[in-house]
Subunit: 329 residues, 2 copies
């Protein structure tokens, strides 16, 4: 029962990705992750209009697949290494689900990039979910460790999505406050709702605006001793003036109290054998379908130096092509 | 350059599946597979309305991903182990692309199976393509070897699709004729076209009808010394009378000349660690979304015996859950 999930075969990974996608859409991902396990009644609560016999069939399939373990007392429990499987499934979900409009319409994108770009959009929810699955092991832990290392009292997260990172941080450090900025009204509304539910409303501000706005109005950065930006800076990298303006605004605020930026982003076409395949896909889809040209490591470093930062440290993270820049001074 | 493709990581497999899907849709899969390599001019011919700069960008991404090797003379060549990568990508393409309507609409299927079943259909082309990718290493070679082993002079293929198996067979054995039966008018038309192009029209008959029709009219089986059926018998297994009728018709014809049936199909919820995850997905999607209950190995064997076959040999093939039944007597 506790043999490691045989992730070495492609068929296993394909099946896990499909089943975990179905489970996510059925609203039971958190039950699968629960250390206490769950019962048939619990899944019934997750989606009351699904007949019990259909739930039974789905759970039986997850057990047969080895993703779920059925205990004798009627409790179900995700297998102990489910976080590893989910992280691996995240790459498949990102490539084959979140980016489906780009992958499935490649001929149209190659014939008429602008026309296709105007016609096809990704499902923002699955972009977020698959990024989270990849991130749990692909880039999130080292970024989080870097953020908490200097005991910050105020952290600003650029491109904060539903503020998952800030919520985790504030739960762990009760003397800390946070502010998240995101372009998406839906993500900000969800962040506000989740913060209230977690009792964090008093320490977590959510601001619905583009990070470009920091050039003209840097006030949201006030009092920050850490500014984090995960996979958002590349969106403004095509406009060097905007990128420089945002970085300068961050530095002006951070310098006063010896703070730092933690920027996690991607470099194009990483050449390490471990990285090259996924990095090539990530780079190509961003360039071809989203008009985003990822800066090279050197271009990232130049941008930080241009903004006045004296110290720039670059680390390769686990997600192929991802890099963490810790920037200060 | 010739290091084995690092298929051990999920990210590699996800990227390969996405890139190979794009290449297939762009019409260059056969170029990637070509032992002679190909040039930028060749891809231009595959899709003349794609601008050369877009082709260059796509090929550069495939090279960066390690799927393609660029020679100094301007020739491109798929990496030597591309067939292995394509086989592995086949599982991902089957789960995450061919079955997308079922995977992406799981809540709807669990709430209202019949309604969702009437609303969502799979893309037949990608069902066929992903099955072919899986089959090249997952079940096709042993079935082919079994078919040619006794030097047949006439082979009938049930559920023949575009008659790829028969065409390969007739090319290899010039004293052999074949007949393919398939439900799909589009597949039969394509099979007829491909047979003509391959100069096989005189030896290859294509019949557009359901295999159920063999119960009342077994004439298409005339003179066969091998009848092959790949993943088609499970479609009629829910109607035991029909299954028995088809198998009896086959036996009546084969018995006269000591021929055999080669049936490749799936068993439900295979329990081997190597098989369980993909087999569970295959079983669940067939039951939940297509109303197909796969027979167990014992049920398959009973059906063959009921039809009068004396000898039934079952072999597990590489595709998780797939089995080959060689049946005679």
């Amino acid at each position: 029962m506790n043999a490691p999930y045989p992730t070495e075969t492609a068929a296993d990974l394909a099946a896990a990705a499909a089943f975990l996608e179905m489970a996510e859409d059925l609203g039971i991902s958190t039950l699968l992750d629960s250390a206490d396990g769950f019962t048939a009644d619990d899944v019934g609560l997750a989606a009351p209009d699904v007949p019990a016999c259909e739930w039974a069939g789905f759970l039986a399939a997850l057990v047969a697949a080895g993703l779920l373990v059925a205990e004798e007392d009627g409790t179900y429990r995700g297998r102990p290494d489910l976080p590893i499987v989910r992280h691996e499934a995240g790459y498949v979900a990102w490539a084959m689900n979140a980016n489906r409009p780009y992958v499935a319409n490649a001929p149209e994108f190659l014939r008429d990039r602008d026309g296709a770009g105007a016609k096809y959009a990704r499902d923002g929810r699955w972009v977020a979910v698959s990024s989270r699955w990849v991130g749990t092991r692909g880039f999130y832990p080292p970024a989080f460790a870097e953020i908490v290392a200097d005991h910050p009292t105020r952290v600003v997260d650029l491109g904060s999505g539903t503020c998952g990172l800030l919520a985790n941080l504030l739960r762990q450090r009760t003397d800390c406050t946070g502010l998240g900025i995101d372009l998406s009204p839906a993500a900000c509304a969800e962040a506000t709702r989740l913060a209230a539910r977690a009792g964090l409303s008093e320490r977590l501000d959510v601001l619905n605006r583009p990070i470009q706005s920091l050039v003209d109005d840097p006030s949201p950065l006030a009092a920050a001793d850490v500014v984090h930006a995960g996979f958002v800076m590349h969106d403004i990298a095509t406009e060097p003036d905007v990128l420089d303006g945002v970085l300068r605004a961050c530095r002006a605020e951070l310098r006063e109290r010896g703070g730092k930026m933690v920027v996690v982003d991607a470099v194009p076409f990483a050449t390490e054998p471990r990285e090259r395949a996924f990095s090539a896909l990530f780079t190509y889809l961003h360039a071809q379908s989203m008009g985003v040209r990822l800066p090279t490591r050197e271009q990232w470093e130049s941008a930080f130096h241009r903004a006045g930062f004296a110290s720039v440290r670059c680390t390769a993270l686990r997600m192929p092509g991802s890099r963490m820049f810790v920037v200060s001074g």
